[in-house]
């Protein structure tokens, strides 16, 4: 049986770490002979994605037990449903932790699905708190940009002459769709912003083809992020994906507007 343990060093005498996402090393220990493999922990630059990366690493190495100080119930519950045993509140050295696990020294009922009512309720409320914290964090990154966008739409409405905007959107379906798709490709961020800008464009007389194309390419074409995408997937993949997404957005936008009859 392979047991994954986050540790502060590359040996069995290293201390068990509290979290998978912040550990410098991940040890995958064979419980039969205590042979082990040392893996580097996820880089801190990953931020909130580090925990998932660490899990991906140890599960890829075939670990079916994880001994750790703490892991969010949001993560441990689906793991356990998939047959991965997760034991939390583990401390001491890696060797001690593995031996204790082998000897059945952990209260596995506490860590598995067989929980008492109060523990279940405590874990449930912790899950709620975790989900609320995560949502608030996602919102906290959205709010500054959205505030800026809303203020900008006010400026746009007050100072941008409609005629100037409408020179980009001539009324020709093809040209307007291309113009909208181009604007959407240049912009990025939460799609909520594209709804606010789209609504403003519609109020200023831009037709629905251009607005739909902008909203579609906003979420499918990422010109600004292209350098990062290239570093991850390569130049060819990135260029093909973005060009195809742009080209597909043109007929798709026209069909969307035709089939829906525009906004209700």
């Amino acid at each position: 049986m392979k047991i994954a343990v986050p540790a502060d060093g590359p040996s069995l005498e290293a201390r068990v770490q509290v979290k998978l996402g912040t550990t410098p090393y991940l040890l995958v220990v064979d419980s039969d002979d205590l042979s082990f493999e040392v893996l580097d922990g996820p880089p801190p630059s990953l931020g909130s994605g580090a925990g998932v990366q660490a899990l991906s690493i140890v599960l890829g190495k075939g670990a079916n037990v994880i001994l750790v100080g703490y892991i969010s119930p949001n993560i441990s519950n689906p793991l356990q449903k998939n047959g991965i045993e997760v034991v939390t509140s583990v401390f001491g050295s890696v060797r001690e932790a593995v031996m204790k696990y082998k000897c059945g020294g952990f209260d596995l009922a506490e860590n598995s699905g067989r929980k008492s009512g109060s523990k279940l309720s405590a874990q449930q409320s912790s899950r709620w708190a975790e989900a609320l914290r995560k949502t608030a964090k996602q919102y906290s990154t959205l709010i500054p940009v959205l505030t800026g966008v809303i203020l900008l739409t006010g400026l746009f409405k007050a100072f941008m002459p409609k005629e100037l905007l409408l020179t980009m959107f001539s009324g020709s379906i093809i040209q307007d769709t291309f113009a909208g798709a181009f604007i959407g490709s240049l912009l990025s961020g939460n799609p909520i912003n594209s709804y606010v800008i789209g609504e403003t464009f519609l109020e200023m007389g831009v037709d629905f083809f251009g607005v739909t194309a902008m909203m579609l390419t906003w979420v499918t074409v990422w010109l600004v992020q292209m350098p990062v995408e290239i570093s991850v997937f390569g130049t060819r993949f990135t260029l093909v994906r973005n060009v195809v997404a742009f080209l597909v957005a043109i007929p798709a936008s026209i069909l969307i507007v035709w089939l829906s009859g525009g906004a209700s």
Binding site: I57, Y195, F233
Partner: protein, 176 residues
């Protein structure tokens, strides 16, 4: 010792105030305009206020939807979906993973990079990326802005476009 699967960069400290630079700049423009042309600037502020009021309810709904998704969907579900299945099942799973994955795309890049190194196909990676265009948490907001019929058709076409894009990428996107 096994090397780390992804190439990490040194951690960069991000100021908490950094995201506010953009709105602060726009607010600065308002301040200047309030001095130069107060009437027009006031019209702009009123327009921005109306947009904010209009967006309040949809934003609240989006918060609720995001909370529910965060409550019941975790990154573990996403990684399970992306790594599972063959044939049509795998198409469905990578699409589902893209749809339920939340947060900025760059947060998912390291994970996708490691999947690619483990042999995930271009089709499934492109399918995941393209299906991120489908945002169930924002659907109520879109419906309030543009109506349910448009939102439904828009969502269906996002899925169809994603499948077309993933297919073409798998045919043309591989580095030779």
């Amino acid at each position: 010792m096994t090397k780390s699967i992804i190439d990490g960069k040194p951690p960069q400290k991000r100021s908490r105030l950094r995201p506010w630079i953009f709105p602060a700049c726009v607010a600065g423009i308002y301040l200047i305009l309030l001095v130069i042309t107060p009437d027009r600037a006031w019209v702009g502020l009123q327009a921005a206020w109306r947009v904010l009021i209009q967006a309040a309810l949809p934003l609240l709904l989006a918060f609720g939807m995001m909370f529910l998704l965060n409550m019941f969907i975790t990154p573990v579900h996403v990684s399970n979906f992306l790594g599972n299945g063959v044939g049509v099942r795998s198409v469905f799973f990578s699409a589902a993973a893209g749809i339920i994955s939340m947060g900025p795309i760059f947060a998912w890049y390291p994970f996708l990079k490691s999947l690619r190194k483990k042999g995930a196909s271009d089709f499934h990676l492109a399918n995941f990326l393209s299906h991120r265009a489908v945002k169930p948490a924002l659907l109520p907001m879109m419906i309030l802005y543009f109506g349910w019929r448009f939102s439904l058709i828009f969502t269906i076409f996002c899925i169809l476009s994603a499948l077309v894009t993933a297919t073409v990428v798998s045919l043309l996107g591989r580095q030779r």
